[in-house]
């Protein structure tokens, strides 16, 4: 919403300049987006008299001018404009002045051997228009040496305000003036409108044509016939005013509607009455009905939209845009002016659906003043008759204003309670009164919002009005007390665990990433997703359409992009959601990591290719970190389809999968164009059991005073035998005595039969109550050998 300062002063008696007006507007909730003050911008440009303009001695198309800029001796200027001539008044820039079009300061130059000490400016150089065929010629009586802005008619700053969706009343210069007056920036002038008497009955009749359940689409429709008008350009001041706010003057009849719309927030439409057939009615459009609108485009309408129609069909899209065929032209002699109330929601929906942003829609969708439908029509009539002559009919009206009167009980104490600031009773009444609210005094005030304030529904709204006008900056900070002197923990157990796992993984060398939770459907399908229920209806890009069923596709895509940049040794992780369905809450918090590459090359040869055991260690570190205790449950071979079937594993507690790890399936690497090797893990943080609360105290520390003994065994077993089976069998011999078992060698090849492997374990026996005798040790050793042989069918390697 744009307006100029002089326009504002039509309605507001104030001395305030643009800067103060803008500052006040922002402070009362009408946020100023920009102040365009051409006068201030062009303050260094002065009016100059061209004393002489002769041909440049060394160039046919250049002129050598002597210029009087009001002070000092005449100045020599070389000018290329064909219209530069002796005696003219022009806009002059001295050296050092910044030229708006180039953004650079003007320098003294030498052009074809002649020094030029300034510039005579074109409209384009001042960014006042596109004209660069010549320099600006000012009126002959322009005062030499004075700022050029005045002679250019640019002393009127233009302010652009962002109107929030609740403030339709502020979408007019008058409404803005009312708010400013309430805020103490001046006095609101009388805005009442003198009706214009009609002299005959309107030949065009109006009607509302709605079923009862859609009658709210247009409760009030008024119009007036004005005959024998002469349409032409509107007065210069009107054109200037419209141009200043970025509107193109069209003709007097059209300019009236734009002027009233911006001045009073009252959108209107003018029909060429001779092009109308029969009664003008507001009704819902028929599905598929089309209309050629004023913007030259044909729109296909539907039955959710309101149209203005005559016997021949739709003539305008109600509240949005008029029709081309019945529009006014320079030949229009009889005009029918429409003023109506259209439903905000329906108008907004129509505008959105058709993609039309218009000044009318901007106002109707925010809600216009229902009591200003007829006064607005009177104002338009007055202007039309004034500018175009003609004779107005009586006003024709169908329907009545929608119900808007209401009374809200208001406790003045609510201002302090909600707004946090003390405002006196008289000030409360003054503010409400100046905004047009009626106030009935009592212990509780009975407040009636004015017809133009649809947004005021309850006490909180009234508090907002009082506080914003009184001044939000007057609200003092009020410290809040905290229940405990020392702050309590803010995180839930699961949040704490997420944070811990994040930092554990980073400390292992992983770089944390945050990726979009939507991925290409093709990628989702590779991870068990991609079904309809997890699709987005309106993805940001066609290939980001599926809610991810796993975090891994995000990491793989990220790895691919990094590999494409030449980074092959990657350790990326993310903690985020994977989606089980499209329903709220059907998501799991997952920590997933991906390693790729052969490891950093080094003279130390310490690198190794990313493998399943890296991923297993990563997974266990995350799980154990989350649990805060060692994970004793065994890992089972095999994971999900995206892992290498023979090089992956799953960690589960009963039916609950805590984690998965392994090398990735070659087909996955191929699908993502990843250069392997690559291994990955997924940890399902929500599935990890909460630590059993046993208090903060640790178990008693009771180290055994008796020496531990280690014994090594090597077994030759079937290659298919799992190491875990060997360990379990060994451990089962004496769970109390056997403290730990390590696998210290694995060998297949020469010396071991085909299809077999040699697995060497080291068993540590830690007695708690005695020193072991050789006999006891021997007995345990024999037991271990027997148990492993029995469990695996292997033999002790000799």
């Amino acid at each position: 919403m744009k307006f100029s300062l002089s326009w504002l002063r039509d309605h507001l008696d104030t001395d305030a300049g643009a800067a103060l007006v803008a500052e006040t507007l922002t402070s009362i909730g009408l946020e100023v987006e920009s102040i365009e003050d051409a006068g201030a911008r062009l303050k260094d440009f002065v009016i100059a008299h061209v004393i002489s303009a002769e041909k440049h001695p060394n160039a046919d198309k250049l002129k050598l001018c002597m210029v009087d800029a009001g002070s000092g001796p005449p100045i020599q200027v070389v000018c290329g404009a064909p219209n530069a001539h002796t005696g003219m008044k022009a806009v002059f820039a001295r050296p050092g002045v910044v030229i708006p079009a180039s953004g650079e300061a003007l320098k003294i130059g030498t052009i074809r051997g002649i020094e030029s000490r300034g510039m005579l400016c074109s409209a384009r150089e001042l960014m006042l228009g596109e004209d660069h065929t010549g320099i600006i010629e000012l009126a002959a009586d322009a005062e030499v040496g004075a700022p050029a802005a005045q002679a250019l008619g640019l002393t009127d700053p233009v302010i652009d305000v962002a109107i929030t969706p609740n403030r339709g009343d502020a979408a007019s210069v008058f409404g803005i003036a009312r708010d400013l007056a309430a805020a103490g920036l001046g006095t609101l002038k009388d805005g009442s409108i003198e009706p214009v008497a009609g002299t005959f009955e309107s030949p065009v009749k109006v009607a509302l044509d709605f079923a009862p359940d859609t009658a709210s689409a247009c409760p009030l429709f008024a119009g007036r016939f004005i005959r024998n008008v002469k349409n032409g350009p509107s007065p210069q001041w009107v054109q200037d005013r419209l141009k200043a706010i970025g509107l193109r003057p069209i003709s007097a009849l059209v300019d009236v509607t734009n002027l009233v719309s911006h001045d009073r927030g009252r959108p209107l439409h003018v029909f060429d009455a001779d092009k109308l057939n029969g009664k003008v009615r507001a009704r819902l459009a028929k599905d598929g009905e089309t209309l050629l609108a004023l913007d030259g485009k044909t729109y296909t309408l539907d039955s959710g939209m309101t149209v203005i129609a005559d016997d021949a069909g739709a003539r305008g899209i109600a509240g949005v845009m008029g029709g081309e065929e019945t529009g006014c032209t320079e030949f229009t002699t009889n005009v029918f002016v429409e003023s109506a109330f259209f439903d905000p929601a329906r108008t907004a929906a129509t505008g959105r659906k058709l993609g039309i942003l218009s000044d009318a829609r901007y106002r109707f969708e925010r809600g216009v003043d229902p009591e200003f439908v007829v006064p607005g029509l009177e104002l338009a009539t007055r202007l039309i008759v004034e500018w175009c002559g003609g004779e107005p009919s009586e006003i024709v009206v169908a329907g009545q204003p929608p119900e808007w009167k209401r009374e809200i009980a208001f406790h003045p104490s609510a201002v302090k309670a909600l707004g946090g600031v003390e405002v006196s009773r008289p000030e409360i009444s003054r503010i409400l009164g100046s905004l047009g609210f009626a106030v009935r005094e009592g212990t509780r005030l009975a407040v009636s919002p004015p017809s133009w304030r649809w947004d005021i529904e309850g006490e909180a709204d009234i508090v907002e009005e009082i506080v914003r006008i009184h001044g939000l900056d007057k609200v003092p900070s009020a410290p809040m007390t905290r229940a405990e002197a020392v702050a309590r923990p803010a995180l839930t157990a699961s949040q704490r665990r997420t944070r811990l796992v994040r930092r554990i993984l980073a400390s292992r060398g992983f770089n944390e990433t945050v990726n979009f939770t939507f991925v290409p459907r093709a990628h989702a399908r590779l991870f068990g997703g991609g079904d309809e229920a997890r699709q987005l209806e309106n993805p940001i890009a066609s290939d980001l359409d599926a809610m991810r069923p796993s975090v891994l596709p995000s990491l793989l895509a990220a790895a691919q992009r990094n590999q494409a940049r030449g980074f092959h040794d990657l350790m990326l992780f993310e903690i985020g959601a994977q989606f089980e369905s499209g329903a709220p809450g059907a998501q799991a918090n997952v920590a997933a990591g991906l390693r790729t590459g052969a490891g950093a090359r080094s003279w130390t040869k310490s690198a190794h290719a990313a493998d399943a055991f890296d991923a297993k260690a990563d997974m266990l570190a995350a799980v154990e970190g989350a649990m805060g205790s060692p994970m004793t449950a065994p890992v089972k071979a095999g994971a999900a389809s995206w892992y290498h079937p023979g090089r992956s594993g799953t960690l589960a507690l009963g039916p609950k999968i805590l984690g998965r790890f392994g090398e990735l399936h070659p087909s996955i690497l191929e699908a993502f164009d990843i250069r392997g090797p690559a291994s990955a893990f997924e940890v399902f943080l929500d599935a990890i059991p909460e630590p059993k609360s046993k208090g903060k105290s640790r178990a008693a520390f009771a180290p055994s005073p008796y020496p531990a003994v280690e014994r090594d065994f090597a077994f030759v077993v079937d290659a298919k035998v799992a190491a875990d089976d060997v360990l379990k069998a060994a451990k089962s011999v004496d769970r109390a005595l056997i403290e730990r078992i390590d696998v210290f060698d694995l060998y297949e090849g020469k010396g071991v039969p085909e299809g077999k492997k040699s697995l060497a374990i080291s068993v540590r026996l830690a007695p708690k109550d005695r020193t072991l005798t050789d006999t006891e040790i021997e007995a345990v050793a024999k037991g271990i050998v027997a148990a492993v042989i029995k469990a695996t069918g292997g033999i002790l390697r000799s």
Binding site: P165, N511, R534
Partner: protein
């Protein structure tokens, strides 16, 4: 035996010791002097054939000679060993300018770091952290926040919709963290003091917008809560977050369907040096948060009596906080996982923000 002969013998032996250059040579000197048939051993043996007077004179003489020789051998032995060790160590020299074994350097994403910072501050202000799902009920994301069915924010050009589910329900990717307010109020009566950080989504993608981004949301509901408390919380928060001694906030009336009155907050800052922002001073204002007093209708819809309780809510961008504090110019690379960016803007794993240690280094 004459003294001169003993002296000569000692000189000879000591010189042989000094000349011995390795353990073997030294050993043969030792055997020749102190061995069974060694020269010094012979002297000691000769004591047996002497008269008591002679023995009294020669005994100490020979014994001290033996001791001196023994000491000289031991000393020489240490010398030889030291020399051998030095020679070995000299041979074991390595090039210490070679790089060590490579170790990967992990990093924490700036959003996570800033999340921890924000959490630390709000914890100290007595807030608990609350969360909600990314896919949200339309009811929680819009309706219970007083956003009417025809509100523009619900349009598909603003809000991501998930395909209709088997039961016909149609959910959204939450457009803000405000539904966590709803979830919290539905299950908890006041006093409520929560902050809800998380991923949010809007159909928006350009130089300054990402379709996924992060917000944090604060909610306080209690008896006697006013705009003044909101202002105080935000002042304290920004002061702590930007680690400055003072901040100045400017309040602007605004409009959000779920708050009334609604207020936007700008922070005074100095942007006069391109690419740099200093908070608490200067002549520029930076828009940082939307907020307001929770709309009475929202309280009612969430089962809280607006006659008894009032509350405020505020929210802002977590990514934006990270950008402002750490000079990250663009939001889009947050989600592009470029290793170079992650390393450049990331934080060390153990650099956990705390209030006692200072949020950042």
């Amino acid at each position: 035996m004459q003294m001169s002969m003993i002296d000569a013998l000692e000189r000879n032996i000591l010189s042989a010791i000094a000349e011995a250059s390795d353990d073997a040579a030294l050993e043969s000197v030792r055997v020749a002097a102190l061995g069974k048939k060694g020269s010094v051993s012979d002297l000691l043996k000769s004591l047996g054939g002497m008269s008591p007077e002679e023995r009294k004179v020669n005994g100490p003489l020979f014994n001290t000679l033996r001791d001196r020789i023994g000491e000289a051998i031991a000393a020489r032995k240490s010398e030889i060993q030291a020399a051998a060790l030095n020679a070995r160590l000299a041979g074991e020299r390595i090039d210490v300018t070679l790089p060590p074994r490579p170790e990967p350097q992990g990093t924490i994403h700036p959003v996570s770091q800033v999340l921890d910072e924000v959490t630390a501050i709000f914890a100290d202000l007595g807030f608990a952290v609350a969360e909600g799902p990314d896919i949200e009920f339309d009811d929680y994301n819009f309706t219970k926040l007083n956003i009417p069915p025809d509100h523009p924010a619900r349009q598909m050009h603003d809000t991501f919709y998930v395909a209709p589910q088997a039961d016909g329900s149609r959910h959204v990717l939450r457009t803000h963290t405000s539904p966590v307010q709803v979830r919290t109020m539905l299950k908890q009566q006041p006093p409520i003091r929560i902050v809800a950080p998380g991923r949010t989504y809007r159909v928006d993608s350009d130089a300054t917008h990402s379709p996924m981004f992060h917000q944090y949301e604060g909610l306080v509901v209690d008896e006697g809560v006013s705009l003044g408390h909101l202002k105080w919380v935000l002042e304290e928060f920004y002061k702590a977050f930007f680690e400055v001694n003072r901040v100045e906030l400017r309040a602007r009336p605004s409009y959000f369907p779920f708050t009334e009155p609604s207020v936007e907050w700008d922070l005074r800052c100095d942007r006069s040096v391109p690419g740099k922002i200093v908070f608490g001073t200067g002549n520029d204002w930076l828009e940082l948060a939307g907020s307001g007093m929770v709309h009475p209708r929202v309280l009612s819809m969430c089962g809280i009596d607006p006659e008894k309780y009032s509350g405020f809510a505020f929210g802002g961008g977590l990514d934006r906080l990270a950008m402002l504090k750490y000079g990250i110019p663009d939001i889009r690379p947050f989600f592009e996982s470029d290793l170079r960016w992650l390393k450049h803007f990331g934080f060390a794993a153990l650099d956990v923000p705390t209030l006692d240690g200072g949020l950042s280094r």
